[in-house]
């Protein structure tokens, strides 16, 4: 199954630039498709760089998550996790907030996932997060435009 990108829905490109630096334009592919990877033999004692490993992780796990959660881009983190960013769901209240998006994080070492909703301002700064907690409780954590924690409610 392939899913085409719908350019005129939910797209606020400027807001995704910040997280889009490591984003890919690769189209989602079916998870059932097995791609044969060319074997590369490294000299003894030499290991793949972290950056290269992260890139391999992104390519390998992309089909499982990108289609569902990563329409706004994805980013490999230093701690072997990959974050998938949803598209911005805009708000038009005329204020400083631009909208929200869902972020899905996958730990490539443990297979665990977690997710949260982010509210972003028009400059692309994350101003609020709302984690999805196992107990179902809803709590918003707010930050100022410089990323400093302001409090929760």
């Amino acid at each position: 199954m392939t899913v085409g990108f719908v350019p005129d829905i939910d797209v606020v490109p400027s807001l995704d630039n910040r997280v889009g630096a490591g984003a890919t334009t690769e189209r989602p592919a079916s998870a059932a498709v097995v791609v044969q990877i060319k074997q590369v033999s490294l000299p003894a004692g030499q290991r793949l760089s972290h950056e290269r490993l992260h890139e391999i992780d992104r390519v390998f796990f992309g089909p499982f998550f990108r289609e569902k959660y990563g329409r706004g881009g994805d980013k490999a983190l230093e701690n072997d996790r990959i974050r998938y960013y949803g598209l911005i769901q805009p708000t038009n209240d005329g204020g400083e907030l631009a909208g929200r998006r869902y972020v899905h994080e996958f730990d490539t070492m443990t297979g665990c996932t977690r997710g949260w909703h982010e509210t972003v301002d028009r400059a692309g700064n994350v101003r609020q997060i709302r984690p999805e907690r196992n107990d179902g409780a809803t709590r918003h954590y707010q930050f100022d435009s410089n990323g400093r924690y302001r409090g929760s409610w």
Partner: protein, 108 residues
Amino acid sequence: MHVDLQTVCRVFEDVLNGSVSREQADRWAYAVVQEEEAGIVTYSPPHERERIWAGVMYLYGVDTMKAPGEYLHSDNDISAAMNAKLGEVADREAAMPLRTLASGRRNA
């Protein structure tokens, strides 16, 4: 779990007319996401899976607030999102009886 386009449309409409709270819509969408993660969701019609999922992912978090007691999204935001994500399908389905009728006349 079975999710169809009409159900997603109805949740949007129920949120807008106030018969379902945004919190309830969010939890419904969250349940769909959980079931999707478990791989036990079927979509109807199957070829509209992408559109259904887009609607579900909008409803997931639709109760986000920008301040205590103040929702991030206005009703206008939600209405616009509904039209953007599901509108074409709704229009297509509304037009379908006419096409069926026209087709029937051609076949007659």
